[in-house]
């Protein structure tokens, strides 16, 4: 019944749709296809984490970075590695850029261990910059809170500016530069917790739970096969990803009503007594591309309330400081979202 109706409606729409619109739709669906391929590849290697994979893809395409809060051995590295390997270099000319790097942060790490360091070459009698692990598509920054603030700040500069500066020389990182940082939520002895302004550099903070029973069983059943996947996995090129990023940005429409809702939510949060410090304007700016990707993944060419509901707690959760004694972030967010979201829904009828 429903499918019949949908078919009829599609038929009617196809008759009336304009050519420009149809072309935009075609471009968009190519981009979405790329994302889906990427997602499928990740899903085959990381089981039971579909929601996290989706968020990772969204962050990747919307040019953000993510912070995973998780227990050891829950598949962070597998995820990051799989992502790095799923994107092949393609036509990139820069030979220093590799698909994937992992940095284990320790208290004695130095900034140059991350960025790279000029090394004196006795043959050419000159300093040569030896590229650090940041020169990669995907970088896994493991236990980022265990290192000193100095290293953290070097890392965060790279994330913010997509460049590193060593000895007053600035080296540009890859366009696709994407950081997955992790921290252990419990084992906090001897750590340097990231302050809120630094957390602001991460688009999402994702708290992962243990995967469900069936997925866990699947992991045990199939670990051999997955180990042997190797080259058999479908990959996408770096250029495809960059193009998708660009096309989603230009073809997915954000209605003024959506922007109004976002601003209203921010303002409500800032005025809430339970909130010590509200979210920044930048967080809203960063949120927009993420919303677009989310919409595109759901086959829409417009941002809707669904996208906001999916992403807002991931985006704002680590950017808001709650007043002492208040602990339920989800409730604070839900309370402040209700009125603007209702207004957004109403606006579709009132025009």
């Amino acid at each position: 019944m429903t499918s019949e109706i949908t078919a009829q409606v599609t038929e009617i729409q196809s008759v009336s749709g304009s050519d420009a619109h149809a072309a935009a739709n075609a471009d968009l669906s190519t981009s979405v296809a790329v994302l889906r391929t990427l997602m499928d590849t990740l899903k085959r290697q990381v089981l039971g984490r579909d929601d996290v994979i989706e968020l990772v893809i969204i962050a990747l395409i919307s040019d953000g970075h993510i912070l995973l809060e998780d227990f050891p051995g829950s598949g962070k590295t597998t995820l990051a590695k799989a992502l790095g390997e799923a994107i092949v270099n393609g036509s990139s000319t820069d030979e220093f850029i590799v698909p994937f790097r992992r940095i284990q942060f320790t208290p004695d790490l130095l900034p140059s261990d991350v960025t790279g360091v000029p090394v004196f070459d006795s043959n050419s009698n000159a300093f040569h910059f030896r590229h650090g692990p940041l020169f990669a598509h995907v970088v896994l920054a493991d236990e980022i809170n265990r290192t000193s603030p100095k290293v953290q700040s070097a890392m965060l500069e790279a994330m913010g500016e997509k460049q590193v500066t060593v000895d007053n020389v600035t080296y540009t990182l890859d366009d696709l530069f994407f950081v997955i940082a992790t921290q252990n939520p419990l084992d906090l002895v001897g750590t340097y917790p990231l302050p809120t302004p630094q957390l602001d550099r991460f688009l999402f903070k994702i708290t992962m739970d243990h995967i469900d029973r069936k997925s866990e069983l699947d992991v045990l059943e199939t670990y051999k096969e997955r180990r042997d996947f190797g080259s058999s996995l479908v990959t996408v090129t770096r250029d495809q990803v960059l193009k998708a990023r660009q096309q989603i940005d230009s073809y997915v429409h954000i209605s003024p009503a959506v922007k109004t809702a976002l601003v209203d939510i921010s303002r409500n949060i800032r005025e809430d007594d339970r909130v010590l410090q509200g979210n920044s304007t930048r967080s809203m700016v960063l949120l927009l591309p993420a919303l677009q990707v989310s919409a595109a993944l759901r086959g829409r060419d417009y941002v809707s309330a669904e996208d906001i509901q999916l992403l807002i707690s991931r985006v704002l959760g680590h950017r808001i400081e709650l007043a002492p004694g208040v602990s339920d972030m989800e409730k604070v967010l839900a309370d402040n979202m209700r009125a603007p979201m209702d207004q957004l829904a109403r606006s579709t009828l009132t025009g």
Partner: protein
């Protein structure tokens, strides 16, 4: 901890609501049974009990008690309370300590507190613990309301007096107040019913119920209340069914009527002149049985008999053809009579000489109103001694008609026997003879509404020569036959006899059904018809009634319709004139709101068809949302369109696709022209079909009736 307080706050509202309903029913029923302190106590007791049970029953120590223990405790509480209340009134030192009034008040307070608290605790406990408890509770509330309003059956809207008087004095139709009571009862009951299950539907159902109540009001305002059945068959009065005049029932069978309606008001009389009867009762004559038809006395068919009677109502003035004589021993009395039930003939204070129709001050109350002019007797019985009987104007034939009696020698035998002992100087005096007969009946007759004579060929004979047990018909017929047997022209007068004490010093007199009466009359020359009414000393029935002085005065004032009464009314109304205009304004406003709501509702449902294509997605989607809200499915506050569509898709699966299209139009790229009339049409018709196939009939009906369904559309 915070969750706990929120939880109890959630329970607090329905508990208060339920407590108010039950307390309201206590208040209604206690108003007519006790003084103000008692009513207050019942309110307090009920509220306390409700909160106690609802908020504490689930906690220790109440939770561990068994239901039977709780009920027994309630009973004990009740009995102890009643005992203490009796002690307070009964013991001297308490009433000496405080005033007797205070003792009475506090006793009433305690009594009603105990009653309401124990009953409520029992009911609430049962409702919480058992499955039938809720039903018992609802039945209880319903019974209280019904008990209060039960007095209004048969259209007696002046009862209970605390409602009727309140309304009538202020010029408000009591039916309005009664309807308010009825509506309140209906609403309370339905609220109670619904609270037992699902509170989420409450407001929705209330709108529909309120609408029904309003439509009832509207109907009554437009068409009036159904007219109650006319109570013609009050008995004892010789009244007949309208249009059944020629075939009269045997008057002796009237006595079989049940005495349930004894106090029913029949008429009210306003005295325009001062008059006190000498024999302690006001007699109102309606007609007379004077012609013997072979088996018993009947209304006369002859033109030349009973010429003093006025048989029919006229629109103007009707005068008796024959006036009573000895005018100097009579006083002229003008009375105004308002009949509350229809009568065949007008009646008036003995002896009526003329009736004059009068404009009816209240068509709802009075069937007929007229002035009666009477020449009321002021002579005592000595005046009657030594009088001849019969009129000189009578022809021989007429005289013989007034002397006819059943062919039974025992009448004359008894009568002769009774008058033999008269003193010689009165031996030939008709009045003395008559008095001797009356005295015999007084001393030997037994008044009873039950009798064995009704089906005898001659009931009066059966009575007189039998057990002498009967009611006024038997006494009057027997007396009349006895008078006639010794040559005294007599007849049976029919009408009402009201004890003079009922007037209670006022000027109005209420005639009740119980006052219907028949009595023997004798015609004395130069005087006219004189009542010689036997009054049996032994009686088997208690004929005393509540004189209902309030009603008497109220109806009298209404009937009198004087300027002073108008003033009194308007002074009472001045504070209530606002209420009436307010009520009218309320009707208009509510009707206007309803009409407007329906207009909006149907505009929103049908607007998309002629609507312009740019806004098509809005109108069509809104219409579909309206249809969903009408069956109780609407978007919650803060819920997104997609979430709602997911929820609604259980009833109408197509709503998901439509929502997507709608959002694409309103949130998507503005330039792309995706709106298409055909498409929205298709969506709409499909969803309408889905809704109607997936909802029950009563929901569909409600969806149509409810004028405010669209308000919930967000």
């Amino acid at each position: 901890m915070t969750i706990r307080t929120e939880d109890s706050a959630l329970h607090f509202l329905p508990t208060s609501f339920r407590a108010m309903i039950i307390a309201g029913s206590y208040w209604v029923v206690s108003l007519s049974l006790t003084v103000l302190s008692g009513s207050l106590a019942s309110l307090i007791g009920c509220l306390t009990a409700c909160y106690l049970v609802d908020l504490r029953l689930h906690r220790q120590p109440l939770a561990s008690l068994r239901t039977s223990t709780l009920l027994a405790a309630c009973l004990l509480f009740w009995l102890t309370g009643l005992l203490v209340a009796r002690l307070i009134v009964g013991s001297d030192w308490i009433s000496n300590l405080v005033s007797p009034i205070a003792a009475f008040n506090s006793s009433e307070f305690l009594k009603w507190f105990v009653i309401s608290a124990s009953i409520t605790v029992s009911l609430r406990c049962l409702a919480h613990r058992t499955s039938f408890g809720a039903v018992v509770e609802i039945l209880f509330v319903a019974a209280l309301f019904v008990m209060t309003l039960a007095a209004h059956r048969n259209g007696m809207i002046h009862r209970p007096f605390f409602i009727g008087d309140f309304a009538l004095v202020r010029g408000i139709d009591p039916s309005v107040i009664l309807m308010i009571f009825g509506c309140a009862a209906v609403l309370s009951l339905s609220a109670l019913l619904m609270m037992e299950n699902n509170q989420r539907r409450l407001p929705y159902h209330f709108v529909v119920l309120g609408l029904l109540c309003f439509s009832l009001f509207f109907y009554v305002r437009l068409f009036g209340l159904p007219t109650p059945r006319l109570t013609d068959d009050l008995g004892l009065t010789g009244q007949e069914q309208v249009g059944n005049g020629s075939q009269r029932e045997n008057p002796f069978r009237d006595g079989e009527n049940s005495a349930n309606d004894r106090e029913a008001p029949v008429a009210v009389v306003v005295f325009r002149d001062d008059y006190e009867p000498l024999n302690g009762a006001f007699y109102f004559r309606e007609s007379a049985y004077s012609q013997f038809n072979g088996s018993m006395l009947d209304f006369t068919t002859r033109e030349d008999m009973d010429r003093d009677l006025i048989e029919h109502f006229t629109n103007s003035r009707a005068d008796a053809e024959q006036l009573p004589l000895s005018v100097d021993m009579r006083t002229r009395v003008r009375t105004t009579i308002g009949m509350l039930v229809p009568h065949r003939s007008p009646f008036g204070l003995v002896s009526p000489i003329a009736y004059e129709n009068r404009s009816n001050p209240n068509n709802l109350r009075f069937k007929r109103t007229y002035d009666s002019y009477s020449l009321a007797p002021e002579y005592d019985f000595e005046f009657l001694l030594g009088r001849e009987t019969g009129s000189e104007d009578w022809s021989q034939d007429v005289r013989e008609q007034y002397l006819k009696l059943p062919d039974d020698a025992r009448y004359q035998e008894l009568a002769e026997n009774l008058i033999t002992n008269l003193r010689p100087e009165f031996a030939n005096d008709p009045f003395a003879k008559a008095w001797a007969i009356k005295t015999y009946l007084d001393e030997n007759g037994i008044y009873s509404l039950k009798n064995e004579h009704a089906y005898e060929p001659d009931p009066a004979g059966s009575f007189l020569f039998g057990d002498l047990t009967g009611y006024c018909m038997h006494f009057s017929f027997a007396a009349t036959y006895l008078f006639r047997s010794i040559g005294i022209p007599a007849r049976v007068g029919v009408g009402y006899s009201v004890p003079a004490s009922n007037k209670a010093g006022g000027s109005s007199l209420l005639i009740q059904a119980v006052h219907g009466h028949a009595w023997p009359e004798i015609y004395f020359r130069e005087i006219g018809w004189v009542i010689v009414d036997p009054a049996p000393q032994q009686t088997l029935v208690d004929m005393t009634t509540d004189p209902q002085n309030d009603l008497q005065q109220l109806l009298g004032d209404m009937l009198r319709n004087d300027a002073s009464f108008e003033e009194f009314l308007s002074s009472q109304q001045s504070s209530f004139i606002k209420l009436r205009t307010l009520l009218t304004a309320l009707y208009i406003i509510v009707s206007a709101i309803l009409i407007l709501a329906y207009l909006i509702k149907f505009y929103r449902l049908w607007a998309p068809y002629p609507g312009n294509s740019g806004q098509q997605h809005r109108f069509a989607y809104r219409a579909v949302l309206d249809r969903l809200s009408a069956i109780g499915l609407h978007r919650h506050y803060g819920e997104s369109r997609e979430q709602f569509a997911l929820r609604a898709s259980q009833i109408a699966p197509t709503i998901k696709a439509m929502t997507d299209s709608h959002l694409a139009c309103s949130l998507g790229v503005p330039t792309s022209n995706r709106s298409n009339r055909q498409q929205w049409h298709l969506f709409q018709s499909t969803i309408t079909r889905e809704i109607s196939s997936n909802t029950t009939i009563w929901k569909k009906m409600l969806a149509w009736i409810n004028p405010f369904s669209w308000i919930m559309t967000r």
